[in-house]
């Protein structure tokens, strides 16, 4: 978090941000479930200028073997940014940042997955960022939980996530790239709307207790909104099926 260069004004006198949003307004969010053929579950997400694909494989044999847990499945997430997703080309392969993000996303997802149903297996979640514009970890996590549901993995709930922060002395929802670069605080958070459980949270920068309070309020409201978009994506995945719930009670008889 560096100080605001004098030539960039992140919020104007009317409280309008660089991209035309109000302080508590989110960028447009679109999610599509089931976009890949080979993966067991997948989701494509566009959030502002962020473009992210998430895929799930599993439960499947756990590699490396020594990570196997005889009592439950492990959730292994790999978050990666494609080399051209950022303004300066990023060298392919994991760096310290992506390894940390992968770890905290794995942990957040492991909380919602009923891992005890699948001993000795791994549920592998891959997040690829095609285009990055601040907030890719929350975008990745939001897409990943949709992909998990699409893969038919039993889970407590979907996991919406968003970043809140501070720019020009004001609390803002869903930071864009400029606010992320020149703002004074960033707080990504994932929260299950129904229970209020916080599954991922980080913060860097400088905020007062009161400001954090306001930021968390914004985040809570936004997570509810994101949650609805996630559910809508899953609903549309089976739109052709449109309410054909159990039209005939098929039996499991062997042919």
């Amino acid at each position: 978090m560096s100080g605001t260069p004098s030539d960039i004004k992140l919020i104007d006198e009317n409280g309008i941000r660089i991209d035309g949003r109000k302080v508590d307004e989110m960028r447009p969010l679109k999610i599509e479930a089931g976009v890949l053929k080979r993966a067991d579950g997948s989701a494509y997400l566009e959030w502002g200028k962020n473009k992210v694909i998430a895929a799930v494989y599993g439960p499947r044999e756990c590699h490396p073997r020594h990570m196997q847990n005889p009592a439950k499945a492990i959730v292994q997430c790999k978050y990666n940014m494609m080399s051209f997703s950022v303004s300066d080309r990023k060298r392919p392969g994991p760096d310290r940042r992506s390894i940390e993000i992968s770890k905290i996303i794995s942990e957040a997802l492991e909380y919602v997955v009923f891992t005890e149903n699948f001993p000795r297996t791994s549920i592998d979640v891959y997040i690829e960022v095609l285009q990055a514009n601040a907030g890719t970890r929350v975008a990745g996590l939001t897409a990943a939980s949709v992909a998990l549901a699409d893969a038919g993995i039993p889970m407590k709930d979907l996991v919406p996530a968003v970043a809140v922060g501070k720019a020009e002395g004001q609390i803002v929802l869903d930071l864009n790239k400029e606010e992320d670069n020149y703002g004074s605080a960033d707080l990504p958070i994932a929260m299950i709307p129904r229970t209020g459980e916080v599954l991922l949270m980080q913060m860097d920068g400088h905020m007062t207790m009161e400001e954090v309070d306001l930021a968390l309020g914004y985040a809570k409201k936004a997570c509810q909104e994101i949650y609805e978009v996630q559910k809508d994506a899953l609903r549309r995945r089976y739109a052709v099926a449109g309410g054909a719930a159990g039209d005939d009670d098929s039996s499991d008889e062997e042919a």
Partner: protein, 220 residues
């Protein structure tokens, strides 16, 4: 959808659900059904998880001196021990009977709490499969392909004259004339694609009627 509250007054939580604070919630993306006081979610997707007694189509993926390792499209492969085959196999002689890449119609013999499985070939109709073709569908769509009391699969068999085995693990084996196999596969793919839509049976029937008449006309 995962996390959805299921209005299950007086109902008990069944498959694909969980209980939190005394209320029943969905754990899966799927369709809600109620069966004998239990509320269940029938999944829309997901991997095959073996149950004892399931008929499955497996592929030999490795051979040991006294067993074969069978890929059954589950999270772990299932061993098939020489005692569980209808032949007398000497120690170290396993490869003479079945080799890597061979396909079998087997039954799940055992599942333990750490998801270790075993399969058997010792039951009526179980055997090594030869010729024909294998197609794979999502295991959650297997009941649709079979249909109510086997009606769907009987219809496909009837129109195409194919022999068909549907494994609970989402693998389907078909044998017959090449064109008939192709038509049957197309019908199965139609079912998988539109598994939960209205009028599916009619559409599959229409398709099978059109292609079987076509070939009948073509062969004249």
């Amino acid at each position: 959808m995962p996390g959805d509250l299921l209005d299950g007054d007086k109902l008990r939580p069944g498959a694909g659900t969980y209980v939190s604070d005394g209320k029943i919630y969905a754990a899966l993306l799927g369709i809600k059904t109620v069966k004998s006081n239990y509320i269940n979610i029938i999944p829309m997707g997901g991997r095959y998880i073996p149950c004892v007694g399931d008929s499955v189509i497996g592929e030999v993926e490795d051979i040991g001196p006294s067993n074969w390792l069978i890929d059954i499209n589950a999270p772990h492969p299932a061993p098939l021990h020489v005692n569980e085959v209808p032949w007398r196999v000497e120690f170290g002689d396993t490869a003479r009977y079945m080799n890597v890449g061979d396909v079998i119609l087997a039954k799940i013999l055992m599942v333990d709490e750490t998801m270790r499985f075993q399969v058997t070939l010792k039951d009526q109709g179980l055997r090594k499969l030869q010729d024909g073709q294998i197609v794979e569908i999502s295991p959650s769509k297997v009941p649709r392909v079979i249909g109510k009391s086997g009606s769907m699969i009987q219809m496909i068999k009837g129109y195409t004259n194919c022999r068909i085995f549907v494994g609970q693990n989402g693998r389907i084996w078909l044998d017959g004339e090449v064109d008939d196999i192709m038509h049957a596969i197309k019908a199965i793919q139609m079912i998988e694609q539109d598994a939960h839509s209205f009028g599916l049976t009619e559409r599959v029937k229409e398709y099978l009627e059109s292609v079987t008449q076509q070939t009948a006309a073509g062969s004249e």
